[in-house]
């Protein structure tokens, strides 16, 4: 699936402009502890986290993560969105919980990172 498919799947809104809509997303990972993400997330994955500060973009960029999904309509800082635009990382806001987002993505065939 691509980023637009993820947006649809999680009933989300794309908060960044869509530079990477052709990027194939095969894997998913969910965690709010950044060292766990550094250790386990694969490239071209979708990452679900409640963290919204600037450093999530650095983590995503270093690991070549395709997009970040923020659950429960949590507001994302403007500085984070600006940085995400620069680094071409898509950020999606969803009203669903992290549990439901992961469940839906899993049902659509997105595989765990390990």
């Amino acid at each position: 699936m691509n980023i637009l498919d993820v947006v649809e799947c999680v009933e989300g809104n794309l908060l960044t402009s869509t530079q990477n809509t052709d990027r194939e997303i095969l894997y998913g990972y969910s965690c709010d502890l950044l060292s766990h993400v550094m250790a386990n997330a694969r490239s071209n994955c979708v990452w679900v986290t409640v963290q919204t500060h600037l450093n999530i973009v650095a983590v995503a960029s270093l690991l070549d993560i395709s997009c970040i999904v923020v659950p429960e309509s949590i507001e994302v800082e403007e500085t984070t969105l600006q940085k995400a635009e620069e680094e071409k990382i898509s950020i999606i806001a969803s009203k669903l919980t992290a549990f439901e987002i992961c469940g839906r993505l899993y049902d659509m065939g997105v595989k765990p990172c390990k």
Binding site: M38, L54, L62
Partner: protein, 142 residues
């Protein structure tokens, strides 16, 4: 004496989360431009990020240096303190001394040093409490 063909040092400021990760991003970009294998770039990017965040969270400030030789990459992290009292304990997964502010941001999982070690072919850490910490991470290119 190893001959390094390129070397770059980044100064890392304590407590400045706004620019944290920029040195690691720059190192990753540099290695990618040199055409180094993607898997190796990824390992060095992870190690550099963990080292950089340790400097931001735990040190009074320090530096991150990347040295590139035809057959190896060397990352050196040095700071001016406060040093690690018990390195064996600090190496244990899950042990962390990160302040509450950092933990709320998702740092302080106690995995930084073990993540670095896992990415490295050679990993050395030396610390003197009250003086500072020096970390060396080597990744072989051949």
């Amino acid at each position: 004496m190893k001959r390094y063909i390129m070397e770059h040092t980044y100064s890392i400021e304590a407590g400045n989360y706004a620019v944290a990760g920029e040195a690691s991003s720059s190192i990753k970009g540099l290695l990618k431009k040199l055409g180094i294998d993607g898997g190796i770039v990824r390992r060095m990017a992870i190690a550099a990020y963990e080292a950089e965040m340790n400097l931001v969270i735990h040190s009074v400030g320090g530096s991150l240096t990347i040295k590139i030789a035809p057959d190896e990459l060397l990352l050196i992290s040095e700071d001016g303190g406060p040093g690690i009292a018990d390195i064996d304990l600090a190496m244990e997964e899950g042990y962390s001394t990160a302040p509450e502010e950092a933990r709320e941001m998702g740092f302080g999982a106690g995995m930084g040093l073990s993540n670095m070690k896992r990415c490295a072919d050679e990993f050395n850490i030396h610390s003197d409490a009250g003086i500072g910490t020096k970390l060396q991470i080597k990744i072989y290119l051949k």
